[in-house]
């Protein structure tokens, strides 16, 4: 298990390097570079100084290595400094946003809590809805509950979130007036009143995302429980005279949750990335909105960093899913 984990960790390094190169060079070929926005009246020597100040005068491979060093060395040092109050970084160069002149990681730190609150809640609720539906659908295969559940899950990932989101806004915010349409990022939960307002503004985006996540997870749960229900050990358990409750909830559930757990782990990066659309609809000031905003003003460092962070998260959770699978299912140890 340990060797397997180590090998996968080592394999992740070239993958990440390759992805970082793809992202960096693709974004760097952007025609919308801020250099082209410098007015022509600016004298050439001033222009050269401006470019030097933005670090854009060096050849592209030097900038790539510099960016990698900033991403993997300087920024973690600043992170440690911020946590422990030390001074390891000693003023090393950080990745700076061209638009706001603020370190990109500080920007992300400001945006991340909103994304995590809304998307994390939605994912959790999605899992909590999906598991019972998936299990019961499989247990009563082809019953009306199963048909309804299957239809619900097919609906869930066929109807795009930008439509469900707007539909919910239309019905519950515009027509009924129950919920606010726009998420207020400045709201701090201090007492019951602000907690209530927080819950109200989170209700719609969380519903949209929870339904979407629940659709996918319940499908996997159903398939996995179905597969296990036909196994020999279930017949044995029933033959021993165990109650249906024990058979289903102890024997079948434990085994069928193994692939579901890995699916949940694999889906976690989309909690960060897939929320781009939802944040746009409900005007949540999160990390996805930061990416879209940066794309529209061609703020290259922010685009590169956020996209690469998403990639790191995907690789990381792939690794976690693989290891979890090995831990949970002794038949699939990779030694």
């Amino acid at each position: 298990m340990l060797t397997f984990t180590l090998r996968r960790l080592l394999l992740a390094i070239p993958t990440l390097l390759l992805i970082s190169a793809v992202i960096f060079f693709m974004v760097d070929f952007a025609p919308g570079s801020p250099m082209s926005d410098i007015p022509l009246t600016v004298p050439p020597e001033v222009r050269a100084k401006m470019m030097a100040a933005m670090g854009a005068d060096k050849p592209v491979h030097i900038r790539y290595i510099l960016w990698m060093k900033q991403f993997f060395w300087n920024e973690p040092l600043y992170g440690i400094d911020a946590l422990l109050g030390t001074d390891f970084a000693q003023g090393a160069q950080r990745i700076i946003s061209w638009q706001s002149k603020v370190p990109v990681f500080q920007l992300i730190g400001e945006r991340l809590p909103q994304t995590l609150t809304v998307m994390g809640t939605a994912y959790l609720i999605g899992i909590l809805i999906a598991l019972p539906i998936g299990i019961y659908s499989a247990y009563r295969q082809y019953s009306w509950f199963d048909l309804a559940g299957t239809f619900f899950s097919t609906m869930g990932f066929s109807v795009p979130t930008f439509f469900t989101g707007n539909l919910l806004i239309l019905i519950f915010a515009v027509k009924m007036g129950w919920f606010p349409t726009i998420y207020d990022t400045n709201l701090r939960v201090t007492d019951w009143d602000s907690f209530y307002r927080m819950a109200m503004q989170m209700a719609l985006p969380v519903t949209v995302l929870a339904l979407f996540n629940a659709a996918e997870i319940s499908r996997y749960t159903r398939a996995s429980v179905l597969e296990n229900l036909n196994q020999d050990y279930v017949r044995t358990a029933r033959a021993k005279g165990m109650t249906e409750k024990t058979v289903l909830l102890k024997h079948v559930l434990r085994n069928s949750l193994i692939p579901v757990v890995t699916i949940i782990a694999l889906g976690l990066p989309t909690v960060f990335g897939g929320a781009i659309v939802t944040e746009q609809i409900f005007k949540i000031n999160g990390i996805g909105a930061a990416l879209i905003g940066a794309i529209h003003v061609s703020d290259l460092p922010v685009i590169q960093t956020i996209t690469f962070i998403f990639a790191v998260l995907i690789v990381l959770f792939n690794l976690i899913a693989d290891i979890l699978y090995g831990i949970l299912d002794p038949r699939i140890r990779y030694d």
């Binding site: 993958t15 439509f163 239309l170 515009v174 781009i276 990416l291």
Partner: protein, 312 residues
Amino acid sequence: MTDATIPPAAVKIERPRSQWRDVWTQFRQHKGAMVALVLLILIALFVVVGPLIWRIDPNFIESDPVKMIRLRNKGPTWDHPLGTDQLGRDILARIMFGGRISLAVATVAMLVAIFIGTTVGVLAGYFRKVDGILMRLTDMFLALPLLPLLLVMMFLFRDAAAAVLGPSLGTFLLIVLAIGVTSWMHASRIVRGEVLALKEREFVLAARSIGTPSRRIILRHILPNVLSPVLVAATLGIASAIITESVLSFLGLGFPPDFPTWGRLLFDGVDAMRTYPDRVVWPGVAISLTVLCVNYIGDGLRDALDPRVRGR
């Protein structure tokens, strides 16, 4: 002795059944998929034949300003069954035209993805030498953050593509290629698995032992046998391509405004959602219904093509 009661004339030799007839028989058992197929054909007729009957130009704007202002934002009338938008354009015609583009983008993007996926999958499965590197490539693509990357690609290359090929064709090709290049990985993994198993079968061995070159073994013996998983992957690929295209359009990084797709129409409708909710609802219903139908057909196809399920 029930057999003896059958008169000899009634005993007829059953005609040999082809594989595709079996598949069709099994497919018809799946009620959801059949309903979805009928609906999808209706939608396709609506967007393909519809504009031939409903002959209003979707981009027609009245040149006389007084008339134009009178035509704006009208509710449903006989002249305009779904009303008109803020520039007096007929919404029914726009939805038909938008559907054409959405479906065309999805189909072509799926073909690109399936072509790349099948090629990579067959090469990786058949030639051991390139297997490792091609599968690492597939893994790398699977680890890319696709939506952010698609947005960045659209933003970076849209103007360049529009400058070379014109705004509509340039955007079309760019979207199709971008979606195709970022969604071939599942197809390639499925195909590789199938090819790895097929390669060891006797008929491939027989073909090889009479000296058939690899190219012909792949084309004549391997490819026809991986057709069914590829078909299922292709169907589901259309569904995800429709959604991806409309997400790009919805985020304002898809087609230009005078080139409506369903996603773009929805995006345009959001601004006036409070006053004219139907402008969001119609394109949204169109997208959802199409994707739902395609997904159901994919499910039905998967069941019909699976020999373990077939004939039950």
